[in-house]
Every structure is written in C-alpha cells, then in structure tokens.
C-alpha cells in the first residue's frame, strides 16, 4: 500500500444521497453553530444589554439621530490622599434620598443637535472660584449618557498648559462616573469610564495644582453611525483586553506552547523510533513503564513536580512551564505505534545502502511520518494552550502567566461576567484556529494508524 494522499473516490453521489448528506450535515452544523453563535452574540453586548427582555440575539444599532442629550454633574477633584474636593455641584438644591432629585434636578445639560449646528461645547469656568493650592491627581464628574455613542472630548485648560485626551465614546445609558487622570494610573476599566489626559506642553507627569486649573471644556463630537456601532459592539472586547495584560499572556502562551510542541515532537520521534525499530536492553520494560505513567491522573503529580521545581530553583521561570511538559509518554506511544506500521523494507533498504541510524531516521522515517507528526503537534499544541492547573502552580509573577489563567479572572466563586468571558475567549481562540487551518492539509493525507497491533 502506498502512503500517498488518496481521496476516497466513490464516484458522484446520487442526488438523493447528496441531499440527505447535506441535510444531516446542515442540522449538525446548526447544532455546532448555535452555542458559538450565542458566544459571539454575548461578546457583542454589554451587561445592560444582556439583561434585557425580550431576549435579543444582537444588540441594537445606535440611533441615527444626530443629537445627544447628556447631563453632567458634580465635578470634583481627587487629591493624592483620595480626598475629593468638590469643584462644581450643579445639584445645589437636591435633598432627601429621592433618586430623581439627586440626579437630574440641577445638572449641566448637554443637549446638542449636530444637524442644527448648535454649539457642542460646555465650559465649566473655574477661574473665579477660590480654589486651594492642593495638588490633585484627577478630575471626576458624573455623566448621564444616552447610549448614542457620540464622543465626549474633555479638555482641561490651565495656567500655561492644556490637558487633552482621546475622545470618550458615550455608549452607556444612565449615570456613570468619568475619571480624568492627570497621571499614569492603574485604572479599573470595568467600573468607570476613564479618560487619560495628556499634557501639552509635556510635563513631568506629576500632580497638578488645583489653583492652576482655569476651565474644563466638554465638547460633544459627532461620530458616524458605523463607527458608533463598531464601538458598541466591541465594547466587551476592549474592556476584556484592558482588564488583564493579555498581550503578555498571549506571547507567553505562544512561546510555551510552541516550545513544548517542538520539543515533544522531536524527543518523541527519536524515542518512538528507538522503541519501535531499534533493539536495546530493557526496551520493552521501559515502554511498559511509559504506559504506566500515562495512567496516573495529573492531580497528584502537581505537588511533587512543584517541589522538584523548587528544589531545582526553576519556580516562576519559563523552564518550569516548559520542561516538565516537554517529555510525555503519550507522544512516544503514538509515534511508536505509527512507526511500527511503516513497512520495514524501506528502512532495510536504506541500511543496506550504508546509512547510519540517524540518517535512516532523518531521511526515510520522518518524511513518511509527516501526518502523524502534524497530528501529534496539533494535539500537543492544543493541550498546552489550554493548560491551566500546572501554570497556575508553577508561576507567581503576573508577567509569567498564561492565557487560561487570564481567562479565569472573569470568573470568581460567586459570579461570572459572561460578556467579558466570551469576548476574551474569542480573542484567545484565534491562534489555535490558525494552527488548525494551517495543519488542515496534513490531516487529509491519511494518518495511517493501522499499525495498532503489536
């Protein structure tokens, strides 16, 4: 039998057969697609849209109205010691705990109609207020958004400087606190809307003296519909990405998975050949030992391996993440079975021609085993990419962690944030999908595991 790619050619299917097959496949595809569809749809929403009845599969498009109707209230500044200095409370007369009175009664209204060319700016002038000379780290105000998605531009003018920022998309409804940071701060992307301010001319990034702030300018900036829809639909993705250093997690996962895959395939191919074709004392006993080690659940080897890592001084390094996974009995087992299925005459011919073992392995065995190697590589890569327990135990620093650990941040003992979790897992899925698509062609070339007898 030749080991070439061979397509199952049975001639064309009759119309009835083809329709039947297509129908079954379609039903199956729908069953597969519906959960993923839910996943994607949830990732496109924010929490408020998720909790709405009647159940919507997709979030609504933003309204096409070229108007915004926002309200601003309670401008305050925050000192380095986290005290708030109220700069302007538009709500002077609010009393009692009636929610409406506290929120709506006296706020700065920003109702702008872009089409009618009304002025989109609101300026809060602080130059006349008797402000103390305290340093502040940020300005904060409450903004009632209308879900339109148009942008808010915050500009802070001071004595000889101006702080500008990227526009804030106002895609939320209801009151939310907006924090405008003067300095680089670690902000909570989920709880607040955050506007990092940049100084112009650039300064030393320190605190800003309150007295030197002259006015705060809020501008409504019109955005085209497609841009607003895009921002609404990618809200969860952006927030999920900002919550954890996913960039670093990605690279860590990629590095570890690739290294483990390469190492495993290499060592397993060498060892698999040694177990299959070469003779050496104790070969079969060692193979039985390999098989036996496969039958122990990982749970009880985590702690001893961890102790080993500590003794070797490898804790919290890449060595701890890669090396223990590099040597697996599964790969050796699988490749050994595969090598056994290859006809021995090819190798014998090569040996007679005078090739040493290494050359036989390199030039005869390996080229024939591409599908099996590709399969092993995919198995290993996918397994390593999704490994959670061991990397959790083996790392301590944030910059060493891998993707599954990052994903688990969206879930704790008491709740799961579905939209963020689904968005993050979609982001995480991309490379593995790419690996699969890349390896597709190998899979169709026949992985002959007919050598399972032994």
């Amino acid at each position: 039998m030749q080991f070439r790619w061979r397509k199952y050619r049975r001639g064309r299917l009759s119309l009835l057969q083809a329709t039947l097959v297509r129908a079954v496949l379609l039903i199956g595809a729908v069953t597969m697609a519906v959960p993923f569809g839910w996943m994607v749809c949830t990732a496109l929403k924010d929490k408020r849209t998720m909790d709405s009845e009647p159940y919507r599969w997709l979030p609504k498009m933003p309204s096409a109205d070229p108007t915004v109707s926002w309200s601003v209230d309670y401008l305050s500044a925050s000192t380095p010691d986290f005290e708030d200095v109220v700069l302007r409370d538009f709500d002077e007369t609010a009393a009692g705990d009636d929610r409406a009175a506290r929120q709506g009664a006296g706020s700065l209204s920003m109702a702008v109609d872009f089409a009618a060319d009304q002025t989109p700016d609101r300026t809060i002038d602080l130059s006349s207020a008797e402000l103390p000379d305290t340093p502040v780290s940020m300005l904060a105000f409450w903004l009632r958004g209308d879900g339109s998605g148009h942008h808010l531009r915050v500009t802070v003018h001071g004595d000889g400087f101006v702080y500008r920022a990227d526009d804030l998309p106002v895609g939320f409804e209801g009151w939310k606190e907006v924090h405008c940071y003067f300095r680089q701060e670690q902000f909570d992307p989920l709880g607040r809307e955050v506007v990092p301010l940049r100084r112009d001319p650039p300064g030393d990034g320190g605190y800003v003296s309150l007295r030197s702030i002259r006015k705060v300018e809020l501008t409504a900036v019109a955005e085209p519909l497609w841009s607003r829809a895009w921002q609404r639909w990618t809200y969860s993705f952006r927030k999920a990405w900002q919550s954890m250093p996913f960039g670093r997690f990605y690279l860590n996962s990629l590095f570890v998975s690739l290294a483990v895959t390469l190492g495993q395939v290499l060592t397993s191919a060498l060892a698999g050949y040694a177990f299959a074709r070469l003779k050496w004392p104790g070969r079969d006993k060692f193979f039985l030992m390999y098989l036996a080690t496969m039958m122990i659940p990982a749970a009880v080897t985590i702690v001893p391996t961890f102790v080993l890592m500590k003794m070797l001084g490898w804790f919290d390094t890449y060595r701890a993440l890669i090396l223990p996974l590099l040597f697996s009995a599964y790969g050796t087992f699988m490749l050994r079975q595969f090598f056994l299925s290859l006809p021995a005459d090819l190798e014998d011919a090569a040996r007679i021609d005078g090739c040493g073992k290494l050359r036989v392995w390199l030039h005869v065995i390996l080229p024939l085993s591409k599908p099996a190697l590709a399969t092993l590589a995919t198995f290993t890569f996918l397994g390593c990419w999704g490994a959670f327990q061991w990397p959790l135990f083996a790392t301590q620093s944030m910059h060493m962690k891998v993707l599954p650990i990052g994903l688990s941040a969206f879930q704790d003992k008491f709740s799961v944030q579905y939209n963020l979790m689904m968005a993050a897992s979609l982001i995480v899925m991309v490379p593995t999908l790419a690996v699969f698509l890349f390896n597709q062609r190998f899979f169709t070339r026949g992985i002959q595991l007919s050598g399972m007898k032994e």
């Binding site: 039958m295 122990i296 001893p304 993050a424 897992s425 999908l433 399972m452």
Partner: protein
C-alpha cells in the same frame, strides 16, 4: 562499505556501539521522562501510604499510615451474616462465569438464542444487584469514592462509546465529495480549538433552567405547539411539560455532561483520525462488494468497520485512559461536583481531597493509585480483546 573493510571492528564492539547509538536515540526523552514524570509519579506512590496535610515542606510533616488510606478508600463493611455474603459472592461469580462463557460461544450461537441469553443474563444481573443492595447492605467507609467511581465509569462509557459512533458517522459524512465540506470540517472542529474553560462556562449558561438558550427554545417550542393545538380547537395549554433542570437535577446532570461531551468531540481529533483511516481504505473493496450485491449496511459491517478497527482500538485505549483521568475542570466549573455528588468523577474526587476538602495529599494519591490499578486492568483487557479483533 561492505566487505573485508568492515572486519576491522570486532563483532562485539560493533554490537556495543550499535546498542549505544540506539540508547542515545532514546536518551533525551528517557531522561526527561524519568526526571519529570517518573519521579513525581513515584513520589505520589510513596505518598499513597502516608498522610500529608502539607502545612510545611518538611519531611517531618509526612506521616506514614501504611495501608490506612487504602482501607479507608476501599473499606466495605456489612451487617449481614457470613452465609448471606458467601451466597452473594457465589452468585456474582456464577454470573461472571456465565458472561465469559457466553462471550466465548458468541459467534456459534444463532440470533434468537443470543438475544435470549443476553436477556437472561440481564435479568440475573438485576436480581443479583437487588440481592446485594437489599440483603447485603454494604456500607463503605468512603461512599463518595464509590460514587465517584461509578460516575467515572458511566461518563466514560457513554463518552467513549458515543464518541466512536458519532465520530465515525461524522467522518463518513465529511468524507464525501461535496464542495462545502471544508467549511463543515472547520465548524465541527471549532470546539477543539476553543478554550475548554470558556466552553464549560458557555454550556453552563446554555443549560440554565430559566434563561438558558436550550430551555428557552424548548419552552418556545412547547408554547408554539400549544398555540397550534389551541388554534385548531383544542384546549389552551395542552402540554404542561416543564423542560428539565439540566444541571440542577441529579438525574439529568450526567446526561447533560454526556451530551456536552459529544458536542465537543463530534468533529474533533477523533473524527480526524477516523477520517484519515477511512481515506486509507482502497475503493476496490467497495466496488467488489457492490458487484457482489451487498447493501450499504453490509458494506459497512464487512469493509468499513474492520478496516478502521485499529483506529477504534487506539481510540478505545486512549479513551479509557484519558476518560478516567478527566472530569475535574468540567465538574468544578459547571456543577462543583454536581447535585449530591452526581457529577463527581474520580479526578474531581482526587482534586477535591488534595486541595479543597481534606487537603490530605496522601489520601488523594492513594485514590489516584486505585484509579491506576483500575485503568491498568481495563487497558489490559482492551489490549487482549483488541488483539484478536484487529487481525484481518
């Protein structure tokens, strides 16, 4: 290179050199496995005979208990009399012997006799089970372990069995020469490339009894059906059936897990293995069978099934080994061991005892080695039985 020039090296040295190079091939993997796999595994074997609450990393905190862990795990006691117990054991042994005899004589029996024997054995089995549970009321020292074992067996059997059937069927479907096949292959492979944790959380949301998509769909179908019935003139709410509480009801939790497992695996790596095996079957066999007048089912039984036999064998072995070792992540995220322990597998049991509940690593290791023994026995049975089937 042959000829007199080769005799400059003595045969013995040549053999030694040969062995050395063979060992060198194996060495990287061997050393790695010895250090990183065999060493921790041996440590866990030793721990199986100890109690270690792991307060500090000092040898002094490890207490030797000998077989204490194993007796606590597997200890069974009963209040029944000796006679009853001996009788029960005798019955079970007789049943096993009958089963083995039936298996040996299987091919020699006609079909009605086969069905009759199977029915008789099932009835006898049911009777023996009733006897054991009523008259010899066994009490286990750790009933959760036995429950976990049962759960593992059930989940693994349905999982591997279903997987073989489904993936083979899928592979046959996806082997057709249709233009959109590649798209289908990708869709079916999506669960494999996704993060397992994310998929478990996804399914947990789907399985929610009130707002999960599955039950919403079932309720909507029921209401639509009721609407149709009402429109035709029947009573208002004819069907009052409530969709099941998938993960919250002890009876439906395991089926829910099994269904989810099938969904995950339907187009996955097992299917790819089958696909490759199918593509290796020469079509002359099928053509010959068609000429001989065989219908589709006969073609499948005579050609397809035996030709993918080795793959099935491999999947069965790996399925048993891996199936018993898994189930922790699933149960932890979705049900925390399930309503009244219905989804606690042995893996979950081990993790739970090691890190959460008792935090006794020695006990958990003992459980892991009991599992090892079970897997070993099953694999050996598989291997022996599979050998006879694979030769074609």
């Amino acid at each position: 290179m042959t000829g007199p020039a080769m005799r400059t090296v003595s045969a013995k040295t040549a053999r030694r050199l040969d062995t050395l190079t063979s060992v060198l091939f194996c060495l990287p993997n061997l050393i790695g496995v010895l250090v990183f796999v065999v060493l921790p595994v041996s440590a866990s074997l030793v721990l199986g005979f100890c109690m270690w609450r792991a307060n500090r990393l000092e040898l002094a905190t490890i207490d030797w208990v000998g077989l204490g862990n194993f007796s606590k795990l597997l200890g069974l006691s009963t209040k029944a009399s000796i006679v009853a117990v001996v009788g029960g054991i005798a019955m079970a042994v007789a049943l096993l012997v009958a089963l083995v005899v039936l298996l040996r004589k299987w091919s020699g029996l006609s079909i009605p006799v086969r069905w009759a024997m199977v029915a008789a054995l099932l009835a006898a089995g049911w009777g023996v089970r009733a006897y054991w549970s009523r008259d010899i009321h066994l009490e286990a020292r750790d009933p959760q372990f036995w429950q976990a074992l049962w759960n593992s067996i059930v989940l693994m059997t349905w999982g591997v069995g279903g997987r073989i059937v489904l993936c083979l069927g899928m592979a046959m479907l996806l082997n057709q020469r249709l233009r959109e096949i590649v798209v289908h292959r990708t869709i079916y492979f999506l669960p494999t490339v996704s993060s397992a944790i994310a998929l478990y959380i996804l399914w947990q949301a789907l399985y929610h009894p009130d707002i999960g998509v599955i039950n919403r769909f079932l309720i909507a179908s029921r209401d639509a059906f009721n609407g149709v019935v009402a429109a035709v003139g029947g009573p208002e709410t004819w069907l009052t059936w409530q969709p099941p509480n998938w993960l919250g009801d002890a009876g439906t939790a395991k089926p829910a897990f099994i269904l989810m497992g099938w969904w995950h695996e339907m187009g996955g790596l097992t299917m790819l293995l089958y696909l490759a095996a199918l593509q290796g079957i020469p079509e002359q066999l099928y053509e010959a069978a068609e000429i001989d007048g065989a219908n589709a089912w006969q073609r499948f039984r005579a050609i397809t099934w035996p030709m993918v036999g080795p793959t099935t064998f491999f999947i069965l072995i790996m399925g048993v080994i891996r199936g018993f070792q898994g189930g922790f992540q699933q149960a932890y995220i979705m049900t925390r061991g399930g309503p009244a322990g219905a989804t606690t597998t042995v893996d979950y049991f081990i993790y739970n005892r090691a890190f959460f509940q008792d935090q006794d690593l020695g006990y958990a290791s003992a459980a892991a080695w009991v599992l090892f023994a079970l897997i070993l026995v099953l694999t050996l049975i598989n291997w022996r039985y599979g050998q006879r089937k694979v030769h074609y």
